[in-house]
Symmetry: C2
Subunit: 330 residues, 2 copies
DNA sequence: CTATGCAATGCAAGCGCTTGCGGCAACCTT
DNA sequence: AAGGTTGCCGCAAGCGCTTGCATTGCATAG
């Protein structure tokens, strides 16, 4: 059996309460006794039982993080950022991968909520109505989507997309495609709207395709569709779709760059490694993860005072690489 | 406040013990009352407080999973497999990403151990002596590394590597490079040894390079080194290194395939998407994850009876894609 | 009709920790 | 010198749940 608080208390000849206070450090304890307690505790190899601790204190020092798909390279950086930020604030992170399955999301969130001090939900996908069910699971913050009445950290795709369309326009493209992400996805709606706006403003013809799942395979399928539409440039909902598309194009002997320009969104680590390298709209995943941690911990600390929901906006920008080139003259 | 067991008990007019038994289902309760209790509990929206439950029962229904780096595409499939297998057995998974930092691994494991029913450690990297410290954190199972006295699921690289070297030999390569992974990594040692053995057997000259971190950037650095050694074929410690190397080679105008053959290890999802597609040794990540869950749960269930450590071996095989081709005649 | 067994349920003791409240010295006040 | 502070610390009451044991009622056996 592990050594308990009581064991330490007995060894030092003090009450458990004092030992508890000495170790958790919040309350006043004589400096000398504190040191003695710490020493003995260390010698005995005492480690507080977190479960018992959270039962009484109500805190667990765990943060819940819900992501749609760990395998999507866009998420690991977010996860890492959340973990390291959380760690520096003394928290651990419980990750749930909901496998792009919205229904799970709600359920998992409810279950998780009991063991964690706060929830961070990164889910561009689940419909807003369902998300709203989660708002009362305070403290909770949403990343990359807007939920009425909840604090969230948003990524504003419009700037990057504006830049992307301008980039294509300046390369002489006059007719571009947009490969939709999942139909009911909030971020797809956002991105799609931004593409529309930018095209309208620059007088570019827009062809919509999809929806596609944010997976490489979907991009592979998209490729053939794109080819049949005779487009010279496309913007994909995310890098994965773009990457799959590029792979398939290359396989079919279509040269990405010279023959067709493709732009991804997310700027995931892979985009610099593909061939050709993928021009992509950088989404500050790590920053949004860190921000989310800060927000959720703020909420957790001020549980009582009902602060009004904050909304932090982060910006995007275009990273030009090798997958975009002047439109071929026909 | 959430509804507690006592609330439900009061509503049904029974004692908390009965309600507890009715809901957890393990003990005998009259069928009629059980149904009534279930009904009321559902109506009241009762959800057991997991924290309290685990304090008394000692179980948490959480499995701990320690991985070196979520961002390495080799791991997400493992994680997903572990999660889904665990879910089907009624467990949740607590993931810790130790950022390739061995020292953390030990610490994290110890801390985690208190809140989880069992530990799965996937860490090809940490030195064996340190790993051994973890053996007493039963139930624990190690993936992809052998630790004396502990149950583990091993991936036997030798077959796949043998196939790989044979493949290269048959393509006419007579001098190949091996790009070492991290120096003290168990799996690197294993792979390296296998490469040596295969080369010796087939009379192929072997040049070792590295060590390199299992990251794309390291592969990029490796590329220039490889180039200067005038090799016609290399086997990399993992896909990431291989991918980085290919990207850099391509950038320098060296044609991967015709000019230099490269083989990765892991067969991560990216390998089919690179250009050219990467010939790689398939490592059954998902299977090993599932197996690990089964093993650790078995251990957990038979905590008392000291069963002797099992060792499950999984096999690897070569997946030939576009990055390998006949040696250029010079 | 009383003894016995069994199924169904209640009692109560924790699990290991936190925390409000109060005790009690030792120290200040005026 | 008596009342008031202050700083440390102990008491004890839980947190919500599980579980060994006792209790009850009733059917069955003797």
């Amino acid at each position: 059996m592990a050594v308990t608080l009581a064991d330490v208390a007995q060894a030092v000849g003090m009450s458990a309460s004092t030992v508890s206070r000495a170790l958790s450090g919040t309350e006043k304890v004589n400096e000398a006794t504190r040191q003695r307690i710490h020493k003995v505790a260390r010698e005995m190899g005492y480690e507080p039982n977190q479960v018992a601790r959270s039962l009484t204190s109500g805190r667990s020092d765990i943060l819940g993080l819900i992501v749609p798909d760990i395998a999507n390279p866009f998420f690991p950086p977010i996860i890492k950022a959340v973990q390291s930020r959380a760690a520096s604030r003394g928290k651990t992170v419980l990750i749930a991968d909901v496998d792009e399955h919205p229904a799970d999301e709600i359920k998992r969130a409810r279950i998780m909520r009991k063991r964690v001090d706060g929830l961070i939900v990164v889910s561009p996908r689940t419909p807003t109505e369902q998300m709203s069910q989660l708002v009362d699971l305070q403290p909770i913050v949403f990343v990359n989507r807007e939920v009425p009445g909840a604090t969230s950290v948003l990524v504003d795709a419009s700037e990057g997309i504006q830049e992307a369309v301008e980039h294509l326009a300046s390369l002489g493209h006059t007719r571009i495609g947009y490969l939709n992400g999942p139909r009911r996805s909030w971020s797809n709606t956002q991105r799609r709207t931004a593409v529309h706006a930018a095209c309208a403003q620059l007088g570019i013809e827009l062809v919509e395709l999809g929806p596609f799942e944010p997976q490489i395979q979907a991009g592979v399928r998209a490729a053939d569709l794109v080819h049949s539409k005779d487009l010279t440039a496309v913007i994909a909902y995310d890098d994965l779709i773009a990457l799959g598309l590029m792979a398939r194009m290359t396989e079919r002997g279509v040269k990405v760059g010279p023959d067709i320009s493709v732009i991804g969104i997310d700027d995931s680590p892979m985009s610099g490694m593909a061939y050709p390298t993928l021009t992509s709209i950088h989404v500050p995943g790590a920053r949004s993860g860190m921000t989310a941690v800060d927000l959720v911990l703020d909420l957790a600390e001020n549980q009582g005072e009902p602060s009004e929901p904050q909304m932090v906006q982060l910006e995007t920008r275009l990273i030009i690489r090798g997958s975009t080139a002047p439109a071929r003259v026909r």
